[in-house]
Amino acid sequence: MNAIETVNLTKVYKNFTAVNSLNLKIPDKTIFGMLGPNGAGKTTTIKMLTCLIQPTSGGATVGGYDIQKNPNEVRRLLGMVPQQVSLYKDLTVMENSQLCADYYGINPDERDSRIEDLMELVDIKYAKDKLISQLSGGQKQKASLVASLVHRPKILFLDEPTIGLDPTTKRILWDLIRELNDDGHTIILCSHDMHEVDMLCDNVGIINTGNLVAYDTPQGLKDSLLESNKKEISDTLSQISSESDVSKSTKEDVDNLSLRKMSFLLKSNNEDVINSLRLNPHVKSIEIAHNGRINIRIDYFDDDALNSILDTVIKSDGVIKSVSTEEPSLEDVFIKATSEVVEDDRA
């Protein structure tokens, strides 16, 4: 079952199409990462899904309810933690949570105990009588979470929840997001932190200029970029090889085009390891960086290269401290996906 399903969801402001026929399915009880550059249409999409604005055309269901026909049912299912903490600054954490609970019509008998439980869950109970204006950024986000979860929403929107937070608080919030998801909440995470999205999300959708330009698991997106890169390289190579006159410099460029980097750091560099690596046919070039790291270039299409190189190092009595390979990141996927549309638009 899908927690959210949009069908040709469109929002047009005068002459500007903010969201263009968006078709999106977010499975129930998953964490969905909504990515997109600024002004891509993410906020407009969220506003439509949270019933703050009406779509111009198309529609959507949230938890099975139509956003236009049953907005109040939809609102009951939703929770929202906005980027800018929107609690009343003059009220305490407790008062803000009570206000939200009463606005959702929570039974007064269980209201306060429910709030206390949530405060314990997010670890903010110690500051329950503090004014929002007296809290740190992380504490505010936690207070915002309590207020957003007080009505036990099935679907929780998190808009840049960790922006501006220190790494420790970030990790605490990440753990909390996972816990909430384990408890059965569907989470829609809007973030520009690619590492955060990569680590937390089951599925990722990239929106650009009002269109969904990519949708898959984070690994699926990265794999498809790798495949796409390979295809691009092989297309370029076959195009170049069909040309009769290839100069020397162009030949070098062509060779470099199909190479990717791997690097590792040994406990101690010895000549035997370096010499053995130079003899390995999978190694196209080798250089020792000033920090002692060994940078090697291997063929993009050579699937056996990594195994062979590591085998050579181990057989030469090299002790590997760290190893890294040049793989596409989610950030690469994001840049690629959003730049393609920009280029298409310009064309």
Binding site: L52, R75, L91, E95, Y104
Partner: protein, 386 residues
């Protein structure tokens, strides 16, 4: 029941905010006091104790009577009584005093048939003071002439040696000062005229400005978005805001009324309760106006820009400071479009004329009409888009 609870939360929230921000609480009390002090003393106060010198060059009963009258008047502060006219005029020229009242040498000569030419040597560069001195001095000497004439006519009748021309002149003089003023609502001073409208204007300003801060401000900070994401209707949210605002404004109105009574001894002929009710009508109307204007305003700054073109003309054209009838015809027409005009009219009716709410029904109906209009447009235009 749930909606009532939501309603109540808005009031509770505003009151908690006020309690936790003593500065805001002080401003609620201080604002009406400052307004009434500024406008009351600055524009509506009587001009008294204007410094003058008196040149007295004769002795006698009339001179004594004149000096006593001048000294006992609140308008003048007699710096010096002297007999040197040149010196007195120099004091005026030097700006030491606002005027010199110069009585001639034959001022007390009852046998002289010449008209007694008293001179008011006036510093006319101070327009306001000179107008007051001009009219007050004229009034005073008419009164004195009348008293002198009565005495002289009696003397003429008793003494056949008096010339017929002098008798005739004095009689004419006496007739010419026969002034009858019929003040149907008593002796209303400018401050009396001003205070009801200042009350109305203060309520207008605070309701319109305050509503913008509440709606546009919460829209800007996202607090309103959180409320609109809950299963709550726009009218419940707005209704709660209005109830909270109204409560605060009514406290302000009460302070205003009390300040007007304490500071300016303004008598409220229609009673405090009726005045209060009229202010409630006004407050509702202007809260509605604020809602309407803030319905689609995204920031507080935007709201301030939008509200100014409405509030400023209303302040000056709705008969707060000057009667509408004295304005150019186009402004008069415009004045009758502004709700503040009707609030002022009702306030003056109740406070000055002692009218009842029934007597000012027309003004109240117009205010209710505007209130409904503003609320309907406000709620219709209001969107949840924050």
């Amino acid at each position: 029941m749930i909606e009532l609870k939501k309603f109540g939360w808005m009031i509770k929230k505003e009151l908690i905010s006020l309690k936790r921000h003593p500065v805001r609480l002080v401003s609620i009390i201080a604002f009406p006091i400052i307004m009434i002090l500024l406008f009351g003393y600055g524009m509506g106060g009587d001009m008294t104790d204007l410094p003058i010198v008196v040149v007295s060059q004769s002795d006698g009963n009339l001179t004594d009577l004149t000096l006593d009258t001048i000294k006992s008047s609140e308008t003048y502060h007699v710096v010096k009584v002297m007999d040197d006219q040149v010196k007195a005029e120099k004091m005026v020229d030097d700006g030491e005093v606002k005027a010199a009242i110069i009585m001639p040498k034959d001022y007390d000569d009852t046998n002289s048939s010449n008209q007694k030419a008293v001179t008011l040597y006036l510093d006319s560069s101070d327009q306001m003071a000179s107008q007051i001195l001009d009219s007050s001095t004229q009034a005073m000497f008419y009164r004195l002439s009348n008293m002198a004439a009565t005495t002289s006519v009696t003397a003429v009748n008793e003494n056949s040696t008096a010339t017929p021309s002098l008798s005739h002149q004095l009689n004419n003089f006496k007739d010419s000062i026969s002034l009858h003023i019929n003040r149907i609502y008593g002796n209303i001073k400018y401050i009396d005229f001003l205070v009801p409208a200042i009350l109305g204007m203060t309520i207008m300003m605070s309701c319109m400005m305050g509503m913008g801060a509440t709606i546009a401000g919460e829209r800007e900070t996202g607090e309103l978005a959180r409320l609109f994401m809950t299963p709550t209707s726009v009218s419940t949210v707005i209704g709660g805001k209005i109830a909270a605002k109204l409560l605060i404004e009514l406290v302000r109105a009460l302070i205003l009324i009390l300040m007007a009574i304490i500071l300016f001894h303004v008598s409220i002929k229609g009673g405090i309760f009726q005045t209060f009710i009229v202010l409630v009508f006004g407050a509702l109307c202007f809260v509605g106006f604020g809602i309407m204007l803030s319905a689609r305003t995204q920031t507080q700054e935007d709201y301030a820009q939008i509200v100014m073109p409405f509030s400023m003309p209303m302040m000056f054209i709705s008969g707060v400071f000057y009667p509408i009838e004295t304005m150019p015809w186009i402004l008069q027409k415009l004045a009758y479009v502004f709700p503040l005009t009707y609030l002022n009219d009702a306030m003056r009716g109740v406070m000055l004329k002692g009218q009842t709410l029934g007597d000012v029904w027309f003004d109240l109906v117009i205010l209710v009409g505007y209130t409904l209009l503003f609320f309907i447009i406000g709620v219709k235009r209001f969107n949840r888009d924050v």
